[in-house]
């Protein structure tokens, strides 16, 4: 039982960063009904910039953090301009395919920056742990959970307490009605990408600072984890993204403990498959799916 609780707590901690990745996907999906498949690669390129500074100039970890997040945002804007703004509004598939192609380009750019395979990434804290009763908490993972919680809180405030957040939510619910109300669509979409990249950059830094290393597979990994977590929670739903991320983290933590490291990713895919078969809309995404269906029926 203690093992079970311990694993669950570990899973929640790691799942918090999956939740941030899923939030990134879901914000842009909500506004555009499109997937930005280059998301993971954008984070990876941003993190490679931070790592590059760390490797060549031994800068402080906070500089690495700021560089990672700032560069992820810049790359996110680049992706939006190229794959989403420049592609016609009704060509949703073209946008997704081009974001997939940009994924390759961003990975190439990152590998040109730092050509070898694995680099050390600075941690926020030295690896350590503390005990509370029978449970053991890793310091870096606790920091990750706190960082994710702060980020979610900030996003919530932004979405619910500002005019910009309201415009974003209105556009997510009904882009046409938002246009009638004079909401600037191009600007709202760009802002959604900036938010996505902010969430992704913070998640990327938190994950890498916990792992204390970065490999060229990070982009692929981040895209997969974020997409799976979003699908679990329900596309376009922010609470769903958080729930999906935590659920994914917990299931992976249990699989890691009871079945072994090689079953960790397998369990994630199994979970996604089970969810898609039993509840295609995800845990909290039912309403959005059915509204889309309604829209189709009306057409």
């Amino acid at each position: 039982m203690i093992d079970f609780i311990q694993n669950t707590v570990d899973g929640v901690m790691f799942g918090s960063s999956y939740a941030l990745l899923a939030i990134g996907f879901t914000i842009v999906f909500g506004v555009m009904r499109r997937l930005n498949l280059a998301f993971g690669a954008s984070i990876m390129l941003g993190a490679y910039m931070g790592t590059w500074l760390h490797v060549h100039y031994q800068v402080h970890v906070l500089v690495v953090a700021v560089t990672t997040v700032a560069c992820t945002v810049l790359v996110g804007i680049y992706v939006e301009r190229l794959c989403f703004h420049a592609v016609r509004r009704d060509a949703a598939l073209a946008s997704m395919v081009s974001s997939f192609v940009i994924w390759m380009q961003l990975e190439e750019a990152a590998i040109h920056l730092l050509p070898e395979r694995t680099y050390a990434f600075p941690g926020l804290f030295a690896a350590g742990s503390y005990e509370a009763g029978p449970f053991l908490f890793r310091t870096e993972q606790t920091a990750m959970l706190l960082l994710a919680a702060v980020m979610v809180g900030a996003l919530h405030l932004l979405l619910h307490r500002t005019r910009f957040g309201l415009a974003l939510r209105a556009t997510s619910e009904n882009p046409l009605a938002a246009a009638y109300m004079g909401i600037h669509r191009t600007w709202t979409v760009l802002c959604a990408f900036v938010l996505m990249s902010l969430a992704g950059g913070v998640a990327g830094f938190a994950i890498l600072a916990t792992d204390q290393q970065i490999t060229p597979f990070f982009g692929l990994w981040a895209t997969f984890k974020g997409l799976i977590a979003m699908m679990l929670g329900g596309m376009g739903s922010l609470p769903g993204a958080i729930l999906g991320g935590l659920l994914l983290g917990v299931v992976e933590a249990h699989a890691l403990w009871y079945l072994g490291a090689e079953y960790r990713d397998l369990s994630a895919f199994l979970l996604l498959f089970a969810m898609l078969v039993s509840r295609p809309g995800g845990l909290l995404g039912q309403r959005i799916l059915s509204r889309e269906e309604l829209a189709f029926r009306r057409v």
Binding site: F164, L166, R169, E173, A177, Y180, M181, G182, I183
Partner: protein, 246 residues
């Protein structure tokens, strides 16, 4: 105030509006009436920037606005209350109103007193915190109107405001439009409810298959033989004629 000249609107090769010219003067209520699919909504959408005109000019206070994006048109003071209301069901009533006010004030939202809202829309004022999806059809139409007004329009485009409402609710909507006119708001109104619309409007245009077939003051149109027989039906026409009175 608004001048539309030889406007053409097409959707993927299908032409919906063929060279329509119309004018709205300050303080007027002008209506466009006509059967379903005549292109009434297309004209409004071309004015508000939701669709780009294929050809022709749209002038607002002398400035060309044809082809401007919707947000730029709203910024100039033209606001459309769309057909089917299109309220944001997942947002609260209050948030629906704030969406329209997005151009105004600071970055962080502050809840303002809404005496105007309470006066014009008493039913809404008590439901500000509830989800907009919980409103009845009539209340939703009132919210759509209130939301449009929140954007502080100088010209309000109303697309089928009485559609799908009970006769009693429709009467309330028309009464509200009358009050707005008395406050000096200029309106371009698209309606299928011909008689009530003409009773309200100053002037009207009859649109058929994307062309204006008839125009004039509302009272001229009401007594026009063709319009009466086509849209009001013979019996309706008879009851309109005081000489035939029963």
């Amino acid at each position: 105030m608004l001048e539309v000249r030889r406007l053409h609107v097409s959707y993927g090769g299908l032409r919906a509006v063929h060279g329509v010219s119309l004018e709205v003067r300050t303080g007027e209520i002008v209506c466009i009436i006509g059967p379903n699919g005549a292109g009434k909504t297309s004209i409004l959408n071309a004015v508000s920037g939701i669709v780009a005109p294929e050809a022709g000019d749209v002038l607002f206070e002398g400035q060309p606005i044809g082809g401007l994006p919707a947000h730029a048109v709203v910024a100039r003071g033209i606001v459309q209350v769309p057909e089917g209301r299109l309220i944001f069901g997942t947002l609260s009533v209050e948030e629906n109103l704030r969406v329209a006010a997005h151009r105004r004030g600071p970055f962080v939202l502050r809840r303002r007193d809404r005496p105007g809202l309470r006066r014009l829309f008493p039913a809404l004022a008590d439901k500000l915190d509830g989800p907009a999806a919980g409103l009845s059809g009539g209340e939703a139409q009132m919210l759509a109107l209130a939301r449009g007004l929140e954007a502080e329009p100088r010209l309000l485009l109303l697309d089928e405001p009485s559609l799908g409402l009970s006769p009693k609710m429709a009467e309330e909507v028309f009464a509200l439009i009358r009050r707005l006119r008395d406050q000096g708001l200029t309106m371009l109104l698209v309606e299928q409810n011909v008689r009530q619309t003409l009773a309200l409007a100053d002037r009207g245009y009859v649109l058929e298959s994307g062309r204006i077939t008839l125009q004039g003051t509302a009272s001229d149109l009401l007594s026009d033989h063709r319009l009466v027989s086509n849209y009001l039906g013979v019996s309706a026409g008879a009851s309109l004629d005081p000489a035939s009175g029963r």
